[in-house]
Every structure is written in structure tokens, then in C-alpha cells.
Symmetry: C2
Subunit: 138 residues, 2 copies
Amino acid sequence: MDRPYREAIEKLKTADLRPTRQRLALSRLLFAEGPRHVTAEALHDQAVEAGVRVSLATVYNTLHQFTRAGLLRQVVVDGSKTYFDTNTIDHHHFYHEVDGRLVDIPGEAVTVAGLPASPPGTEVVRVDVIVRLAGEGK
Amino acid sequence: MDRPYREAIEKLKTADLRPTRQRLALSRLLFAEGPRHVTAEALHDQAVEAGVRVSLATVYNTLHQFTRAGLLRQVVVDGSKTYFDTNTIDHHHFYHEVDGRLVDIPGEAVTVAGLPASPPGTEVVRVDVIVRLAGEGK
DNA sequence: GTGATTGCAAATCTTTTGCACTAAA
DNA sequence: TTTAGTGCAAAAGATTTGCAATCAC
């Protein structure tokens, strides 16, 4: 029983989610390497390719549960698809409009100045900065 | 023939769009008063209420044509709905997550500092700042 | 066992499309 | 006329839901 496996189980237990086969597999796909941005569809494809038997509905469920648990963050850049970001630390994004690719911009680097106070009775949940890019890029 | 009517016709002609009954009606609903944020559904409802006979498909077409012509701007804040903004000048948004309401933040007020250079071969189309709000608000 | 989780297929919601019909130039 | 624009209903895409079967505890 390797280390990442135990960690994955702990992670789920902490989030009050039963470490089922599907959740464990998705968790490992998501958090195995550095930060990534996935859509439900893409993660499902990746899981199937990796030989994990899981339904698309369960992928959707899992992504939302992970988001609720603070393990993922939703990024809205395109009306038609929902992206989930494994980087939950404060940061921003480059968005390549041509191919839909997202690239992180570290949060520490960026400063947003001059924002008006939030309306009375409201609270700022988050400030998102999205830099929309055109052109081929890398 | 009142002034706003002539202006509406001019606006459409300039955009190389035939001033049809539907486009004129939608144009007047959209630009009659100050800046607004609408969804296709909402604009269609408003049109129907106002006694304008227009189909939802035409509302979608028209919103996209107006956007292409630079008369509107698309705002992405929520995966499920597409908002169109009659304010095409550089600016940002408060987004009330509870009720989906959008409020403009003047562009001059805000400064975004520290953004990394855009990746080689790409060009910045636009920088969007979205301040997500929780709580009842006004 | 018992309640949480999963899978499947059907349902939903928003947006787009194909095409015959209508209207603008 | 001639071509652009419209309406309808069907199609498409992403996401959600209902419910019986299955799994974790």
C-alpha cells in the first residue's frame, strides 16, 4: 500500500466522503501531478483510458463533492463548459480562447486596485481576474 | 417619427444589419435606458410582454449579431447562462451569486497590476475582473 | 444489515440549426 | 425580384435526476 494511496484515503475521509473505488481513482487522477484544469468530460475520458470503470454521472457528482469540500475550485470562462481547477489557492487565469486552454497566474503576483466597496449587506467571495488571449500561443 | 427611432435605424445600418421590425424592437428595448445586462430568455420575455412578436431563436441571433457588431458585449460569470451587456466600454463586474444579478464597475477606477506578459504568439483580448458577492445585497 | 454511492437512461436546460416562409431593398 | 431575415420545431451539448442495484461501514 503506497503512500499516495493512504493520502488519498485520508483526503477523502477528512472531507467526509467515503473512499469508494471511483472517488479514489478520480482523486488520484486529479491530484497525482501538479495543478490541472479539467472538465467532467475530459476527466471521464482520462479515467476510462486508464481502465477505471466510472460513469460520467459519477464524475460530475464527484467533481461537485470535491468542490464543496474545498478540494477543487470551479472556473468560469466559457458559457458552455465548466472547468474544475485543482489549484484552490488564490490565483488567476490566462484563457486561450482558441483552444479553451487555461493557464494559472499566481495570485501573489497580481494586485487589483481601485475596486469599489462591495454593496451593503454583501461580502466578497472572490475576485477573479481572467486574461483572455487570442492567437496560437504555444 | 421620433428621434430614438431614427437613431435605432442608423445604428443598425451602420452595423450592416437590415433594420427589421424585430431588430428595431430589440434594439430599442436594449438601449432605451442606461446600461443593462440581459440573457436571451429575459429579453425575449420582455419583448413578448411589450407586445413585440419575436421568436426566441431570433433573439439569440440578434444578440449575437449585435455582439459581432460591437453593440453588445458578452459577459461570462455563470456556466449555465450567457449574459449580454449593453455597456461595451472597458469595465468590470460585481456578480451577486445568490440571484445572478450583475452590476458594473467602471473601468477607469480599477487597476490590475503585476500580470505576467502574455505567452509568446498570443495577444490580450481583454482583462475581465469579476468580484463575486454573497449575501442578500440590495 | 443499513445508509451512502453508483450507473444507467431519461429528463432538463440553454443554445443552435435546418428549412420553408416572409419581408426588406 | 433577389437576398437577408424570421419562426418553428427538431437537434445538439452539457449537466442533472430518479431509481434500482451495489458497496462501505
